[in-house]
Structures are given as C-alpha cells and as structure tokens.
Subunit: 496 residues, 4 copies
Amino acid sequence: MAIRTVEEYKQSIRDDRVVYFRGERIKDVTEHPFMQITLSQMALDYIVANDPKYRDLFVDEDENGEPMRFLHKPERTTEDLLRRREIVQLMARMGFGIPGGSNTTGKDALNAIAVVCDRMDRQTGSNYRERVEAYRQRLLKEDPAVIGAVTDIKGDRGLRPSKQVPHQDYYVRVVDRNKDGIFVSGAKAHISLAPLANEMICIPCRRHKEEDKDYAVVFSVPCNAKGITMISTDHEIDDIDNTFDYPYSSSIFFADAIVIFDNVFIPNENVFMDGEWKYSGDMAYAFGNSHRLFADSYKYVELEILAGAAFLIAEYNGLERVSHVQDKLAWLTMYCEAEEALAEQACVKPVQDPGSDLVYPNPMYSNIAKFFFAENYHQAMKNVQDIAGGLVCTVPSSKDFFNPETRELMEKYLTGKHGIQAEDRMRAFRLIKDLTSAWHGTLTIHGEGSLATQRMSILALADVERYKAAARRVARIKSDKEHPLYEGLLDYPPKV
Amino acid sequence: MAIRTVEEYKQSIRDDRVVYFRGERIKDVTEHPFMQITLSQMALDYIVANDPKYRDLFVDEDENGEPMRFLHKPERTTEDLLRRREIVQLMARMGFGIPGGSNTTGKDALNAIAVVCDRMDRQTGSNYRERVEAYRQRLLKEDPAVIGAVTDIKGDRGLRPSKQVPHQDYYVRVVDRNKDGIFVSGAKAHISLAPLANEMICIPCRRHKEEDKDYAVVFSVPCNAKGITMISTDHEIDDIDNTFDYPYSSSIFFADAIVIFDNVFIPNENVFMDGEWKYSGDMAYAFGNSHRLFADSYKYVELEILAGAAFLIAEYNGLERVSHVQDKLAWLTMYCEAEEALAEQACVKPVQDPGSDLVYPNPMYSNIAKFFFAENYHQAMKNVQDIAGGLVCTVPSSKDFFNPETRELMEKYLTGKHGIQAEDRMRAFRLIKDLTSAWHGTLTIHGEGSLATQRMSILALADVERYKAAARRVARIKSDKEHPLYEGLLDYPPKV
Amino acid sequence: MAIRTVEEYKQSIRDDRVVYFRGERIKDVTEHPFMQITLSQMALDYIVANDPKYRDLFVDEDENGEPMRFLHKPERTTEDLLRRREIVQLMARMGFGIPGGSNTTGKDALNAIAVVCDRMDRQTGSNYRERVEAYRQRLLKEDPAVIGAVTDIKGDRGLRPSKQVPHQDYYVRVVDRNKDGIFVSGAKAHISLAPLANEMICIPCRRHKEEDKDYAVVFSVPCNAKGITMISTDHEIDDIDNTFDYPYSSSIFFADAIVIFDNVFIPNENVFMDGEWKYSGDMAYAFGNSHRLFADSYKYVELEILAGAAFLIAEYNGLERVSHVQDKLAWLTMYCEAEEALAEQACVKPVQDPGSDLVYPNPMYSNIAKFFFAENYHQAMKNVQDIAGGLVCTVPSSKDFFNPETRELMEKYLTGKHGIQAEDRMRAFRLIKDLTSAWHGTLTIHGEGSLATQRMSILALADVERYKAAARRVARIKSDKEHPLYEGLLDYPPKV
Amino acid sequence: MAIRTVEEYKQSIRDDRVVYFRGERIKDVTEHPFMQITLSQMALDYIVANDPKYRDLFVDEDENGEPMRFLHKPERTTEDLLRRREIVQLMARMGFGIPGGSNTTGKDALNAIAVVCDRMDRQTGSNYRERVEAYRQRLLKEDPAVIGAVTDIKGDRGLRPSKQVPHQDYYVRVVDRNKDGIFVSGAKAHISLAPLANEMICIPCRRHKEEDKDYAVVFSVPCNAKGITMISTDHEIDDIDNTFDYPYSSSIFFADAIVIFDNVFIPNENVFMDGEWKYSGDMAYAFGNSHRLFADSYKYVELEILAGAAFLIAEYNGLERVSHVQDKLAWLTMYCEAEEALAEQACVKPVQDPGSDLVYPNPMYSNIAKFFFAENYHQAMKNVQDIAGGLVCTVPSSKDFFNPETRELMEKYLTGKHGIQAEDRMRAFRLIKDLTSAWHGTLTIHGEGSLATQRMSILALADVERYKAAARRVARIKSDKEHPLYEGLLDYPPKV
C-alpha cells in the first residue's frame, strides 16, 4: 500500500501513449502547455495526499500502518459517502469549482464494478468479486490515476449497437478472444482526463438485449495499451497564460478525449463483465448513480462561485438594494443551497443491496440533485448575466488596462460604485463571461448523464403504488391491495 | 399531565364563543354541519393519542407515569424534529394531505415563544422563560386545542402599523393596560381552525420599529374571551355530503377566520412579549421557521396525492407509455421527492442558539423547501390537468352516474382504457378538479408565508461572504479578509 | 334570408330533446335555472343582431335587401377574418370574457367543411360543394343555433378507433346506410352549448387510416334527432343567483355535454364526408385552425379581465409601487397584448388554397397564439394569486358582509388601502377566486386542442428547409439545394 | 445625393482616429485583421447599395434622379417600417444573423431626433427641426457611416448622474460652451461599430431631472474629433481565420467600444438637444423603440439559424423522431415565428404623434417582441445544447480532422446517423458552440435595453383603465368613469 508523489505520477505517464491535440500527436503529455493544465488538476490528488494538512482526510492506514488512499476503498457506510463528499468539495474549493484529482470518475467506475460484480456473483454464481478485490489491491498498492470510460461514441441514436451502419464499432465490443483474454474495438467519447491517466475502467453506457451481448463488456486497460488512440478535444482559448481575461479557462482543461480501441487485448484478470447482457444496464446505472453524487457534490461549490460572482458584481455595480436584483440573488442562493441539501440526503439515506456489505447513494436523491442543477443552470446563467450587464460582452482586454496610455481612462470609467477598483470589476466581468459559456451550459446538461436520463431514472424509481394509494384514498377508489403506508389507516373524516 | 378524549374536547368548545359563518352566528360549533368538517380534522389528534396503535408516537410519560402530549414538549434534538415530522406525515396520510389535529399552528407558536423568550431573557435580562414554562405545564396538564394567530389583517401594505389610516387597528396592538394585564385591539386574518380551538397564541407578523412598539405584543388568549369576534371564511362548496364529486372539499375545511379583538383583556401570565419591539421580527421569524417545516412535512404527502392522481389518470386514459406524459410524471415524482429531501435536511442540520438548550429547524432549508413547493405548484397543477384531459372540466355529475336512465351509457363511454371502471375514472377526474382549485393554488403560495417572504429569508440567510470568496478566488481578486472555507487553500493551479 | 328573434330561438329548442343534468332529464331546457345561464349566453347573438347599435357588425343584406347573418357567410378576405375577430371580441367584452352566441363553434365547423369540401372536390372530383352551399343557404334563411361537435369521447388513447375494446363506438362512425342516408353511432365529448343548440356539425377529431374509414364521416344533425342523448356536465357552483361570491360562475355555463349517438339517421344532403379517410385530418385540422383563431380572439378579452383583476387588487392592497408586483403586472400586460398581436397576424397573413376562393387564418400564427396563452396561463393565475394574497382563500361570504351584526367590522377591517371600499375589495377577491379555478386552468390547456396538438401542428408547419439553410450558411455546410431565401446571397464576409 | 462605394468608405475612415484594441493603438483601422471583420460587416451596406440585384431595395431617387439611401429618409408609413424590416432581414440573412451595415444604430438615432425634435418644436416653440433636416440632407449627400451612441458608462447605478462620486463624467454632459457650440465630456459604453464609423449621434440613455440638465444633450460628432478616445472590446477568439471551428466568431465582430469624450467641441448645427431635460427620456425612449424593432427584425433571422442548427443536429444524431426532441424543435419553431409576428405587428400598427407627419413602431409590440426573445433565449440555448449532446463541449479541433493521421478515425466515428458526413456534423457542433456562448446570452439580455427596461416600458404603456374596467364589469364593481370599450355595453347576462 502506498501513496504516489507528483513526480512518480508524472513519470508514470511518459509512456508513448497516442494522444492527438489540435492536429498534432503529443510527444510527452507532461510537457505540453495545454496538457499541463490538466496535469495540474490531476496532480492535486498527489499533492494533498502528501500534505500533512490534508493527509488525514485522504489517506488511511492498512493493518501494517502503510498508507492507503481512502478513495480506492469500498464504500460501506453513510460516513464513507459523506467523507468522499468532503474530499470532493475541498478539492473543488481548491480547484475553481472542479474537484481536481486523478481518481474522480475512476472512483465511480470502481464503485460500479464492486456493487454490480457483487450482485452478479450473488445472483448468477459468477466469480467476479475476487477479480475486483485483486484489482482494488493493486490500486491501493500502486496508487495510479484511474478513470472511468463509459459513454460510447454512438452513431445513429435510433438504432441499437449491433444494428448500426455502416459499421458496428460505435459502441465498444468484444471482437475476438483467446484463453488469456479478450480483444475489444470501438470508441468512447467525452473521456475526461484520459490523456493523462494511467488506466481506465470501461463500462457500457446503456442496457443491452441478448443480440448485443458482445457489447456487454467491462474491463480495465492502461491508457498506453497497444491499439488505443486518443484524440483530445480542443480547448476553449488559445491564450492560456492570461489568467485575468480567462480566469477559469486558463486553469481548467479536461482534455476530454475520444478514445478509440482497435483490437485492444485485455487479459482476463482485468475483465469484470463479459457477455452478461442482463447486467449492462446495472453497470451503467451504478456508475451513473455514484457519478451523479460526485457531480452533485462539486456542483455545490461551482454554484457557490456562480452565486458569488453575482453578489460581487451586484455590489460593484451599486445594485445590491434593487428589488429585482435581490430576487435574483435570493434565487441563486436557493439554487446553490438546495443542491447541497438534495445531495446530502443521498448520503444520509444510502441503499444497500440485500446480502451485500456495500452501500451506494440513494439513487432517487442523486438523480434529483443532478436534474435540479442541470434543469436550472441556464436560468442561473441568465440571472448572473442580467445582474452583471452588457460589459460582460463588451469589456476591453486586460491588455488595455495594463497599457499606460489607457490605464488612467479605464481606472476613471470602469469603477462602478465608488470605492470599487476598476481592476476588480473587470476581473468580475471576465469571470462571469468565462463561467457562463456554451461549454458550461452544455457540460451541465450532459455531464454525468443528460436530463432525459435523469427523468427516466426518476420515473423508474418512483414509488408509484404509494402515490396511487394516496390518491385513491382521497378519491375513495377501492383497490385490492394497498401500499403499506396507506393500509389500515383510520377512516377519514372520523365520525365525531 | 393528561390526554383529552374527543368528548372532552367537544365539550370544551361549547362556550358561547362568537363565530359567524355565511351570514349567521353559530350557536354551537360542534353541531354545525360545516364546522363539523373542521371538528373532524381537529379531533383526530385526540383520537390517535388515545388509540393504542398510535399512542407511542404521540404520547410520552412524565416522571409520574402520566401521559404527556409530545407536541407540547420543547424540541431539543434532531430526533424531536424528526418525530414531529413523522407525526405530521402520518396525520397527513390519514387526513387527505392535511395533518389534522388540534395543535398544528399552536405547536409552531409555542416553539416560537420558547426560542425567542429564551433569547430575550439571555440578552436583555427579562424573565419570560418562567411564564413560558408555566404555560407549557398548563398545556401538558389540560391538553387543549391551541393554535397560532400571526397574520394581521393589514391595511395599506405600503404603510407601517402606526401610520395606517383611517384607524390603527389593522395590526393587533396594546390599547390599554393595568397592573394585572393588558388590553388589546385589532384583527388577525386567515386564522385556521380558530372557531374550534380552545385558545390562541398571538404573535406579530413583521418586524417593528420603536414607533410601533405597541404592536410588539405576544400573548395567549381563550377563543371565547370577551371582545373576540370570529368571522369564518366561506366554504368552497355547498353539497358537503357529496364525497364523489367533491372528495377533498367535502372532507377538508379550515374555517379560517378573521379574528377581531375589541379591547380584550390579557392577564400578565399570558403575555410573552410586551413592547420589546426589537424582538418582534424574531418572533415572526421563529414562528415562520417552525411553521414552514410543518408545511414542508405535510406537503410531501399532499404531493404524493397529486402525483398519484396523475399516475392514476395516465393509466385510466391509456397514456402511461406516451413520452411527454412520462416526462410529466417524472417531473411530478421529482417535485414530490425533492420536497421530502429538502425538508428532512432542515431536521438533520438543526440550529441551536448559543447558550440555549432548544433547537430549531435549519432556516435555510425550511425556507427553501417551502419556496420550492410554492414556486412549482402551479406547474404541477398544469401537468396534472394536461395529463387528465378536458373531462376534468366537463365530466357530468355523479348523480347522472347513479341515475339508472344514464348509468349504462356512462359505463359504456367513460371507461377509458379497457378494464378500467367508469366510476373510478370519474372519481379521478373529480379528485383532480378538487385538488387543482384556486383555493389550492392560493393556499400554496400564501400559506406559511408568501414567496416574497421566503426570498427575503433566504437572502438574509445567504452566506454571502463565502460566495464572494469563492468567486474572488477564481477571478484572482484580492481581499483583506477571507472566508474560513477559502482561507489558506493551496494555490491553484499548482505548479507541477 | 332572415335574422331570428330571441323568442323564435327559445321556441325552436322546445323540442323534446333528451338532455340530462345532475341526475335528471330536463323537460324544457329554456325553463331550467342552470340551462338559463347557457341560454343567456347563446341568446346574445339574437339580441345584438336585432339591436340597431350593433346590427351593422352582425348583419349584411342579400341582393334582395334581406338580412343575412355575416357569420354564416364564407370567409374570403383578411377583412372577413378581422370582422369575425371584432364580433368575437365585442361579444367577449359583453360576455365576461366569453363570446356568447349561438354560432361560435358552428362557424368554425362551417368554415372547415367549406374549405375541405372545396379541396376534396378539386382533388378527387367529388361534389360536396353543392351540398355545403345548399346547407349554407338554409342557415342564412333560418338562422339557427348551430354548433360544432368534434372531440370524440375516445377510450384507450394508445389504440386507433377501430381497435378499441370492448366496443368500437368510442369514436363516432357509420354503422349502417341506405340509399337516403347513413346511420351513425358513438359519442362526442365536451360539446359546448349542445343542450341548447338547434343542430350540430360533426367532424372527426383526428387523422384516419383506411382501416378506420367508417370513422371518416362529417354531417349535420338536429340536436333533437332520434337516438341522440345528451348528458350535460355538472356546474361549478350551486348558488347561481349569488353574483357577489361567484361573479363568473353565476353567469357562465357552457353545459358541455357528452353527446351519444345511437344509430342516428343522417339524410344524404347533410353528409359532407363519408369514407374519404385521407381528408379526416384535413377536416379536424381546418376546424382546429378556425377554432383556435376564435379562441385567440376572445382570450385577449379574458386576459384583459385577468390583468384587470391584478391591477385592481394591487391598488386595493396598496401594492402598486412594490417592485415585484410591478414586474408581475408588466408580465400580465405583455401576456395579454402579445396574445392580441399573434392572433391578429393570423388574419393579416391568411392562407388560400390554390384554386380556392376561400381564405383561412394563417395556421402557424393561430397555433402559436393558442399555444402561447395555454402555455402561460398557470403562470398568470399564479401571478394574480400572488398579488392578491391569502384572502382569495379565506375571504368570508358576502352574506357576512350583508349581515348587520358583522357589517361594521368588515367595513372596518377589509378596506385595504385607505379610500377603498371593503365591498369592492371583497368582490375583487371573489373575482380572482372565480377566475383562477381548476376549470379555467383545464379549459385553457384543453379547450381548442391540447398543448401537444399545437406542438404537433407547429412542427408540421415549420419551414424546416429554411431553418436548416440558415444554419448551414453560417457553418459553411454545403447542400445540393438551397432554400430560396438563402440562395444566391452574396458571400460572407465580403472581401473588402 | 449620392451612394458611396466601398473604397470611398474605407478611405473616409483613415483619419487618425484614436482606437485602442488589446493594449495597442491601431494605426489604420482598415488594415487591422480584427477590425477588418467589422469593416466587412459595415461595408456590406455599400456593396448592396451598388449591386443592381439589391439596389432598388436600398436606394431611391431624388427629384433630380440622383440616388438617395432609403435608410437616411424619414419614416412616414407602415410601408416605410416594413421596408426597413425587409432590409434588415436581408442583411441579416447575408450576415449570419447580424444585419451588417453602416447605418444600423445610426438610423435609430436619426429616427429618434426626428421624432423628438419635431415634438419639442411643436410643444416648446424650439427650432430643432431645421437642424435635423439640414443634417439629414448632409447624410443623403455624403452617405457616411453613422451610428448611435446612447448607453453612458454609468457608475453607481443607485445614484443620479450629477450625484456620482468621485467624478461626474460617468454620463456624457456639457462642460463648457461658447457662441459657436458646446464642449462635452464623459463616456459611452457598448458603442458598436464606433471604431469604423464616420460619425455618431449621441443621445442620453435615461430620463433626467432639472438638476441633471447638463446631461440632457444630443449631438452628432465625427469619430475622429479631437478629444475622443475609443477602446474597443476584446474579441471572443484569437484564431480568426478558422471558419470551421469558429464559424460565427471568425466572421462577426462589433468592435463595441468605450468612447471617451474629453472636452470635445460640438458646433451648434450638430446639437439637437441642449438642456431640455424634460425630453431626455423621450429621446432615450424614441431611440429604444426604433432600435428594438430593428433588433426584433434581425433576431428573427438569428432564431432561424438557431432553430436550423437544432434541426440539423437532430437529424445528424438520428434523433428527429424522438418525442422530447420533437417537442423542443416545436418550441424553437414557435419561438422563432412568434418573434416575427410580434415585430411585424409593431409595423402594421404604427403610432403617429398628433400634428406630426412621422410614424414610429408601435412601442407596445416592439417592446414585447424584444422582451419575448430576450426572456426565452437561454431556454432556447438550453434546448439546442440538449438536442446536440456533449460533443458540443468535447469535439476535437478541425485540425485533427485535417490531420491525415487521424482523419480516417474521425470519419469513421463522428458520422452519427448513416449517410451523414463527419465533417458536416463537426461543423454543426462548432456552430452550436459558437451560437450559444456567454456573449450571445448576455447580448440578448442587454442589447437594445435590458429586460427591466422592457418591463418598465410595457407597464408604462399598459392600458390599465381598460383592464380594470374589464375586471370591474365581471365583479360588478361600480366606477364613476368607464373605459370607452366597456361603456354602454348591454347588461350581462341578458334576461331572456
């Protein structure tokens, strides 16, 4: 059991991986200026775990007194769920709303295979738990940067995986096998941090039917495995050293990659599902559930920042006492704090499979919390832009502010309310512009599953019989069987 | 210490109180057909407390083994808050979404005077706690039906209480005093259950300035005190025996009254504030906070019923598989379950004044939960009506259904999906009509404080310095003092 | 050609029609107190047409100088469409937001058969136009009260008409025929005014496939025809003489009926479609289009009333200067006036089939205008209730106001802002309660077709190729064929 | 009278104007790569006016047969308003949603001074009309690029112009005068196109009281006048040659400038208001009204593009038949087409001051149309992003597409629905990202006046007496004077 240093981590990813960005193959991801943003985000995990101030939160000891990363351990109690929340929120407060780290989605994937392999073994007699446990031990020992890779690149949304044309590799699948393992092809999309991770756990992104059982495959694979090509997304900006004009974009880059698998070999010990199509949906769902709670946790911090930007600019503009501005500030506060309450309830009321010693977040609340922030985010962006005013669009570059010829004029005219520094106000406008981008809007809707996904999950989890019983009671509609909460209640209204 | 019987309760309110309804003075409220609806609601408290099945939830024992109503006891822990929630929700499930009982708003008023008198004593050296304690002992001993009376009838919303014209009685105030007590005049509005309660605790509904200190008065008073006139609101329907066509309105009536005080004498021992204008807002706010949690609790059940009505009618209409209907059902589920999570967090994270042994619900969450249901209720009504269809408007009377001449035709044509009974479907339409009324819409907005009130409270509770610190960190705006959560964090992005 | 008197109209509906209401068969609809409300609404058409002050708007002269009701004439110009709008809005201003009259939906049905029979004849060589013309001449001569009957009662929404179980009469259909005509069975729902009309034009409410061609039938039939049973909807209130407490409900009652056809004979001259299943959708759509414009027209007046109620109560409460109240008043104004603009554009830009001399309202705008008011109505109700306050729920009965014992107290305490009469304020609360009912909410969504219907219509009418061309131009995506508006434009940006 | 060529226009702005951009003073705005984007936009006016295909729409002839730019002429009829709409929409279809041109806001400013000077002369006996007419003749003769400059940079929003601290130049004002003219100081913000215009018409942005009468000043001034400094806003992107990844941003740049006046001399003939503080609001309002109609016109095209992007990507993703996607497409269509209807009504029902020969757009409709698109824009962005999916965030750079090493993989995996080109789909994602930016969101809210401004205008224009009369009629509330539309109507319900 061990905790890596930053230097060890950096060294570990200099491994001839195939990463493309803006039309070029990157030689060493640790030396590339854009990838260094991502590197900083991910390295934070190794920094804090080695920092005496934070170590206790991140690191436990094994029976030999050796350090073990808490995040690699199984979740068995509400306290475990809340501790991860605390980690995520601390990292997000450090990381500008984003919980930097090397094990963000990887933790969710590890949770998913733990819960579902446990379930498969109990229900089908399979023997995946041992593999998961062996895998977990390796993680605890090596402390690698491991991520989840879930969303397939898909093709035509109206067709199942095996019915796609002109080829069937839009979803990752088993294309061949031998006694030692399987060979997979296909592509995953939106794989955050992949270009700088050590390995990834691949999980299907949907339910499957029997005809698609080749797609029912879960495995772990090194990011530099033969046959893997990663094409990173473009970055939002070019001028990444300019933290004044791009306070957020200069510091945050997920390097979300399209990860293409061309006949990649996976040894058996790294395979955690192989054809059990009935459990594909469970895997996707278990990952989504854990990952939504993760999102619900850091979004609280992101909304703190967004609300803070609104409060700051309201003050800078001299608008704090204006009624409609106050209504919007109250709304932003409500939006932020409700998110916290909803997500925390997912930990306070966790769920445990019968016979299992693992817990997972209450899926009703984890989904609601995700839905809630994604459903309302554009309204929040609108409110912040509304309070801030047109200078969000039209503020000059900071270069004009630092140009001695124009500095004085800008100091004179961009102050807003008396006593406010023009520089601070410019920074606030730039922050708001950077925080209310198309990137943020889209990420909020689609990150951790689209709104449609949450709707489906919420509906599937709805306690419909309870609701119907409640309505029937008032309407005096009889029913053969009643929901326990509505059974045997006193007649109403009572005769008095 | 004792628990009353229903009969004792009924007897206790045959006391010459002055109650008007629909243009007539009611002789005996226990015998009036409309008031009997209210009586049933209120009597439920006495029924369940005497029912072995429920007794443990409602009744504790004192040191002598005598029964004490839990609701009259002070709240000191999260468990106390959650136990009240359990009580409220059980009563609401029995009571068609409304937590019948004789101590609903009274409990909130008792909480308010307990918390604020405790605070006043600690901060000003006053000695109200003893009076509160003596009052509480009397409640435990007599088990009366006690309600809160908060909202003044107001006049011109743009003027303070003492500036109203043509008179200054729009808010209840002290008009005279002697050594034994005070005399009060004025009027309260929307006082639910007042015509059938034993006594009411009167509390100001707003902050005051020194000029309005006569209005800073809190007291308890019997409902039949000399000088009190109650004018009950009208009821929604006339045909209160028709539970088919009016399943809700036939069974629920709050008898909300305008309560007019004409020089009513209040002995000193029942006065809990008298001129301490700086604490008027605290009283209003403490009542509101407790009362909002109460509402947040029963609204969950009310939303169960509303969601249930939607699921039922979707099934009856054969629409369960239609995509936009499913989206609406998912939304209703989310609406309902989010309400539960938000309110429960108010109990899980209660607040305690420094030096006090009392807790109260976390006001951020109690306000958010109230805001959330009130802000979205009209959308919910729209969704339910949309799924149900035009027959909500145009369904014939149940009398036609029971008329042999038309019965067969109605059985033939009103069935909807095959296998559904026409009668059940008619009942469902009637339920939806009864649940989506102007009364419901308005109650949801204004009951337990208007949306504007929650906005103000939420804004006042916002941790603005934390939000600003969050935004400043990303924007790189310096500040002299930082919020603890954002102080001393590692620099970001870290240099690696 | 002639215009009837009210007396002639009343006499014409004393004809042994079979009408049930609240469990009883009505002997003479003109003498029944509830039906008299409907009678008043419908008679208005005969009153105004005989009133010199209004006659010119309602009545034209034929070549012999005899009076002809304008509403029975074909619509050929924008001016015709605008004149009908003027009529509808005048009637709505008289009729409390509802355009009373005997030819409201009948006019829309007449428009539908005129336009679609014309189209069928041109496209299929049929010969329906003569029948329509003969029918129109009879209407002009007899001036009867004629209504449209469109919505079938449906059964399982997931099944086509001929696939329903346990019977196939959920949609009206031809069940038999002889050389003189056809026999129809089935049921229509929500047929407003049917119990007091002379005849109704029945039209399918949906598209059909060939298997359902028996349901592709359009005809006119007297309301007292043998085999027709009408079951009226229940009314909102019992106390219909109480115009103080129920200002709207005491005066408006549509008597929406379920109209059941049991082997009703229709002579050939009254049949306007018989098996032409390809045109079923056209009929439904043409009726809907005309009827939506009708709705868009009177809704403007209804929204005037709703906005007016909000302005009145804001003033009465002393809230006119409060910022959030002003925002809501501005929103209500916008809502009201946008409705007018959208609907008027449907007249300003009418559509004409190639080869036809008839026009019809621009369906894009008629649908948008309907969608716009229905989509936002619950928000409007919420805004009005929010401004009004809780007394909408809790105001006492007017009987208390007229009771001398309580009159003085109510005058003292219910005035609101100084100078306002308590009576006026009570009337305003009652108006708002009566205007924001479940009935209003549901009517707004489902009357004239549900929101889903408008969405489908709007999407079907979308000029998708224009939109795509617009996007392709900016994205530089090439296409083989371009939309005319985007074809041959100068390159952009131009090289300068 | 004359129409300039592009070359003449370019030559005319090489005039030593003081323009800063990204920290440097620009020597020749016509040669600067970023300013060339703006130059292209503005030059379009000169291109089309000299293009035989479009000339008739843009150019009229004077009595001598010489060409006159239509846009410089006064608006006297609905046809004039509609012709401008046609011009704006054609330019917007050419210009990627933005109506390129050299006289966009200038036209609105010219309209404002024409209408308000006319009004001032009629009401106060002033003599500004002659100056306006002389100015107009010069525009017609020289055909310069003239813009409006309205929004002052403001300081503390809670203080009036003359009360600002630490200086009073946050709003442009007269600081000195001599017999030949006035001297002005202060700053305007968000002045689109200013760095490449010939002159600007400056107008106050708010009402004034007498104490602020130095701020009640309207004038025209050349952009290179002594004492004027312009600081352009930053641009969204750096890589302006990359039309694939930034299809919109590479082609559209407003060069919105902060324009600072330091004791700038304005000769009397260019002054159109000087101290008439009562008319400041009229000027702001008249400009706003004309400018909102301008916006309402081009926004229709912008929404075409946005809707088109949604339809394209729905098709590319294979989602056209998915119910919730269709609902969103229907909504976008409604949003787009309603905008057209609302704005057109502002032309169809123009307003004319008594005694004036000028018309202006109906301000109720011009404001509603602006409010409507700004209120709903974030919802539209959300819908488009929702349909498009996460690749809006994570699509790789086009450079990877054109890199032979990755081209094949991208062709294989980014196609979406079979038959779609990966390149087209990538372009569509990039378009959506570029169209749903923070810049777009903020521009939509604040361009042409904020939502709060429209709310105020709509409320000020509300026909409150009509609304109240409508409500009183139903509620039976008596009033001394009635609105004409509600006066003398027949009693309702009529006695029949």
